[in-house]
Assembly symmetry: C3
Homo-oligomer: 305 residues x 3
């Protein structure tokens, strides 16, 4: 299937062939980050961010610029025409006249779907509500593929808040297209949602645990996510959990050789700073892969590759 | 007269020949929105917005980028050097050193004139105070011309707050250069200002009415503007008026075949959503014409066409 | 020494040869401000401004765009991922993956040094804490060199708050590399810091005074800086000082022919508006030189000249 004109709303709209196409295209983009490119010369991306998300916005902007394109940005919708009572759909119907594609971040569930249905140009979801952030899942897969040389045959632990973390859900769905084994590591109160567990478990081997130390020797990738204070009834409970799931040099003693640690960022203190200097750390490298994956998506939906 | 180096402060500085030149240049710009262009390669527009106006800013940015130019933006003057007590004139005398033209939006009457007098590079007024918004009037004319194939011989109703709406005034002045007939449709308390009525009425046929339904069968273009709550002594009066001037499918039953509905946007609920899907609606298309007209103005004042 | 890959953290890291190289490179940049250039085509500057500074940001942006490069900007760190608790060092390690160099403005002392140590790409300090603003010092020197045709042999008065003004300190250090004579003119309570006075005085002739009128006949350049209200115990004292150091047409009657008046901007009322129209005024021209100097620095650290 051609990507030209396609919307990128949910990782669940991507089958294995789609994902493979994004990954192989991303690899072609890597040399262009240094050499520059005019693939998207004259094209404009409208980046509409109804929530602050500096990293994601910069990543999309850099991707567009690296390909010779340009961006127009709405980053403070509170002081824009939205203030004058304009609806999201009216904004989109205006902005589609100024640009060749729309990158949308919006706090409401379903907003990216609405935008995709409405706009006559491609829409890429840069995070909508608590459910979907498809480009994050794609860049996570790309990082694993590039760092491990493969996706099939890898064993991945996803650690942290698996109940509320959208990154964890999207990643699990995406990995289920490959012959992987997943370990869901979380406090009992933040276990992976039943529907994700069932669907993913019907396709690949999954297991749940509350203990990272017994899991570490068995995995190739440790994917760390945030545990938020707000999820806990009292501070004491939160402190206890936070301590148990914090990744330190000490924790990583149990790790298999070649283990890599990933994180969608920004981190608070889920990963100790001294891990940054080790060969485990891939969470900053991940942001570079993210730009590359977004270059691929932009080029694909605009039909230039 | 050559446009090179010219300021665009007020629609009243434009005679018919000027407007015709903008419109015909805009038509030349249309294919460039797809094909791209390097007409303004290396040129920088400084977009200084002392009021939020996302659509207008994006329209100017997109116009500049489509022509291969670039922009530097000030969009939050409250947290900029203006905070440190810098005057508008000092800001302009700095910014003219960084750019090739200035696009200025400012809440004060006369600010664009001041800027134009002061700056050694062209200044385009993107809205100053409650009086002037010349590029809006030009894009309105361009929309009529492109959609109707002509300006002479058209009959246009301007509906809404004709007392305070700057868009309505500028449009009336601009249309008076052509052999048009105008119908001013408004509540009695928001009638078109006497001075506009007299000047425009001295050149073309105008009439005033409070009733849209008897006007609709006679017009080719219905130009809808906002009626603001703040203009009314009490809420009850406002609700009554708002209802009477709201455009719905029902209202449009009386319309002549081929009538087009325009609106400067953003809209609140002056036009019902189900009108969007009809062949009457041109208010979103209008924003595309707006970008094209701004491309023409940028190219003209920078002397590349 | 080659500039390629070099960080620009402090003017004190620059010897005379370095400064000369920046100045002569800047001169080569001047024609490119009109003709355009593709020297930095495909390159991206990440402009991270943790403090509002519209002029400095626009100057760096314009410099990058004039050379064919592009920018991604963080200008509101309060509503960005910094809000989510991300540290400056994590932000930098992300942003270096999106860009070819970092321009950083940060309120904390030492932040630019930290960034330079951490990032694998060049970092240019656009103002850190109250100590360093190296590109301002370089553009001040460039303005003198271009307006006077030389640095050696010039006599310069630096006037205003010499105790707290970082611009004054950096400029004094930079001028000490040349055979110049400096006059520090300030109220008694805001005298030049001892350490600056000693170091600069060990290399060139310096003198201190509280009186501008007796100094004016002896100098070629009058460099005016701001005196801030907050530095004074009471308002009455402030008003008195402010009046005594305000530059007016009257003050300038004592000036030598050919004297030029400079100011880092923004000004409050340290220089009367009627001075703007005289041949003394160079403070707006200075901002153009500033863009040119930044073009030179960008081209140098990215290794294209």
């Amino acid at each position: 299937m051609s990507f030209k004109g396609r919307d990128v709303v949910s990782i669940r709209d991507f089958d294995r062939k789609d994902i493979d196409q994004v990954l192989t295209t991303a690899k072609l983009m890597e040399p262009l980050t240094k050499a520059g490119s005019e693939l998207l010369k004259g094209r404009i991306s409208a980046n509409i961010f109804y929530e602050p998300s500096t990293r994601t916005r910069m990543s999309f902007e850099a991707a567009m610029l690296r390909l010779g394109g340009n961006c127009i940005n709405i980053t403070e919708p509170r002081t824009s025409s939205i203030d004058k009572g304009e609806s999201l759909s009216d904004t989109l119907r205006v902005v589609e006249n100024y640009s060749d594609l729309i990158v949308l971040r919006h706090p409401l569930e379903g907003s990216a779907k609405l935008a995709a249905d409405l706009a006559s140009i491609p829409v890429i979801n840069a995070g909508s509500g608590s459910e979907e952030h498809p480009t994050q899942a794609l860049l996570d897969l790309y990082t694993i593929w590039r760092e491990k040389g493969k996706l099939d045959g890898t064993k991945i632990a996803i650690l942290g808040d698996l109940r509320y973390g959208r990154t964890a859900h999207s990643l699990a769905y995406a990995l289920a297209h490959y012959d992987t084994e997943l370990f869901f590591v979380s406090p009992r109160t933040l276990r992976m949602r039943r529907e994700v567990l069932e669907e993913v478990g019907s396709r690949i081997k999954v297991s749940e645990t509350t203990d990272i130390s017994t899991t570490l020797p068995n995995i190739d990738i440790l994917y760390v996510t945030r545990i938020q204070k707000e999820r806990f009834p009292d501070l004491e409970e939160y402190q206890k959990v936070r301590g148990a799931y914090r990744i330190t040099l000490e924790t990583l003693r149990e790790a298999k050789t070649g283990l890599i640690v990933m994180h969608p960022l920004p981190r608070a203190d889920e990963i100790a700073l001294d891990v940054d200097r080790t060969s485990f750390a891939r969470y900053f490298r991940e942001t570079w892969y993210g730009m590359v994956v977004r270059m691929a998506l932009l080029a694909l939906v605009l039909g230039v590759v």
